[in-house]
């Protein structure tokens, strides 16, 4: 082996050590999720049924007017089908397996592995989200596009910003679920807080009604919470509602903030964990 090859080999192993197992975990997450294909068919039925009802209700609010709170018919149609599609990617309900592992104590094994648990699970979640884009996001958008006039991005760079917004939303949804799951270290059972989060998330993330429909004071108050960054901001980037910068900044700040809090909570949880026996 020449010196050059040796140097290249060393550099490569350094990069591998830095990135570590996380890309593999993302691929594994993608594969693991791809086995749930029949569940995706059922989910498409649900999304379509609720999409049709939501759009009817919102259209009746629109009535004969051109627009309500800045949403015209095409934006409302896009809002509804984007929401139904993104729901399966940026999951609001479920995804609390870690909480079960904390409750059962299996988390001790997870913490003992040579990885950062938060990064590892985030990588796996990105794999899951990648597959969900194909199987949960695209079909409702196709159905919505066939049945309604949707508002598609007018500017090309909006597609890139939309993609970035999804990447941030997935990370933020994960960061919140990670914190909720870790709460089981102190509460023993995270089901109460996760149930409450699911309920609040359904309405405050902008899934059931566009947040702009809320009274101004409520809309301003929600802006101080992470909820708009779960769905509404991503949808608004797509329908090009105002400048995308504040929307993406809100997402980025909350995502980073919640991930950092998650790291601190993880440290605290590691100190709290007592492994008995063995």
């Amino acid at each position: 082996m020449s010196k050059k090859e040796l140097r290249r080999g060393l550099a490569w192993s350094f990069v591998r050590a830095l990135i570590g197992c996380y890309p593999h975990l993302a691929v594994a997450g993608f594969h693991r999720y791809s086995t749930y294909r029949s569940a995706a068919v059922a989910a498409l039925t649900t999304n379509t049924a609720f999409g049709l009802m939501r759009i009817a209700v919102l259209f009746s609010v629109l009535g004969s007017r051109q627009q309500v709170a800045g949403y015209d018919a095409a934006s409302i149609a896009s809002y509804v089908w984007l929401g139904q599609g993104l729901l399966g990617v940026v999951i609001l309900w479920g995804g609390h397996e870690l909480a079960d592992r904390v409750r059962s104590g299996d988390v001790a094994v997870d913490l003992a592995r040579p990885w950062n648990l938060q990064f590892a699970l985030l990588a796996e979640d990105y794999g899951r989200a990648g597959f969900a884009m194909l199987i949960r996001f695209v079909p409702p958008m196709l159905i919505g596009g066939m049945l309604f006039d949707l508002r598609w991005p007018q500017q090309e760079h909006t597609w890139a910003l939309f993609a970035l917004s999804i990447v941030l939303a997935v990370a933020m949804s994960f960061a919140i679920r990670f914190l909720l799951s870790l709460s089981a270290f102190w509460l023993l059972d995270a089901r109460g807080v996760t149930a409450m989060y699911g309920l609040l998330g359904g309405i405050f993330s902008g899934l059931t009604v566009p947040l702009a429909f809320f009274p101004d004071w409520a809309y301003d108050a929600l802006w101080w919470t992470p909820f708009p960054s779960l769905l509404q901001n991503t949808i608004d980037v797509f329908v090009e509602r105002g400048s995308p910068l504040p929307l993406l900044a809100h997402q980025a700040l909350w995502t980073v903030g919640l991930l950092v809090i998650g790291q601190l909570a993880l440290r605290a949880a590691e100190r709290k964990l007592v492994v008995q026996g063995g």
Binding site: T45, A49, M53, V57, S60, G63, T208
Partner: protein
């Protein structure tokens, strides 16, 4: 004799649920919040519109209230059917089939969740408030209608639930499909059927008899003719529809159980 057995089963389940008091209270509150969040949606929508499908806010809230109480009661009594796929997959259903008791009643009483009272109480509070503040010309029949509409709605929802869950005998993981029908019906019935496009309305209002849960009883209470042109007596027909729905549900359930062959594992 059989009644005694069910009461004993229920009593033990209730005691078990109430023994984790904090957890129970949290779940109870979550059910209330769940029902209240649907109320918030309606209030927000009416902040942006004077009417929906030709109906004012208090009129929609009457429908929401009747549908909410009806759905809550059905959820309380037959919501356990959501567990059917698990019972089938694990073979626990076979045990129930062997006992000399009604299978449906066993599944239903197997795990009645008292926390679901939270949803019922929240919806009932809204219904009573709206009915007492609305300008309704009360008569004897209308009082009777107001008192029975949520119960009749519960029976219709219950029948829908049984039919939807019967699908699980054929589809391995049919829970989500069944949930779409049941929870979807809950959303559908909370709004006047005039907001939906005709083809969706025909299916969800009349094939699945969603219109008879809250829409028609509300019309009768408000003395409003149906904007869609249905004759006035239809507004009083929900109990008959409920009886028919139960008959259909009974037939479907029997047919499903007869054709059940186990998971073979």
């Amino acid at each position: 004799m059989a009644d005694r057995v069910y009461l004993d089963i229920l009593g033990s389940r209730f005691r078990a649920q109430l023994s984790y008091r904090t957890s129970f209270l949290l779940d109870f509150a979550a059910q209330m919040v769940g029902q209240a969040s649907e109320l918030v949606v309606i209030l927000v929508l009416f902040g942006r519109a004077k009417e929906m499908g030709g109906f004012a806010m208090h009129e929609v809230l009457i429908m929401y209230g009747i549908a909410g109480v009806g759905f809550g009661l059905a959820d309380l009594f037959v919501g356990q059917l959501d567990e059917l796929p698990r019972l089938i997959r694990t073979g626990q259903l076979d045990v129930l089939l062997l006992r000399p008791l009604s299978t449906l009643a066993q599944v239903a009483t197997g795990d009645i969740q008292l926390r679901r009272l939270g949803r019922i109480i929240a919806a009932l509070a809204v219904l009573v408030t709206v009915l007492s503040t609305s300008d309704i010309h009360w008569t004897g029949p209308k009082l009777l209608l107001a008192a029975t509409a949520p119960l009749v709605g519960a029976v219709i929802f219950g029948a829908i639930w049984v039919v939807a869950c019967s699908v699980c005998f054929w589809i391995v993981d049919g829970r989500e499909l069944a949930n779409t029908v049941t929870y979807g019906s809950n959303m559908f019935t909370s709004y006047p059927i005039t907001v939906y496009p005709p083809w969706l309305r025909r299916f969800l209002a009349f094939v699945i008899p969603g219109a008879f849960v809250a829409y028609y009883p509300a019309l009768a209470l408000l003395d409003r003719p149906d904007p869609l042109g249905a004759p006035a007596f239809l507004s009083w027909c929900s109990p008959l529809v409920a009886v028919a729905a139960v008959a259909v549900a009974g037939l479907v359930w029997r047919f499903a159980v007869r054709h059940y062959q186990g998971t073979g594992s």
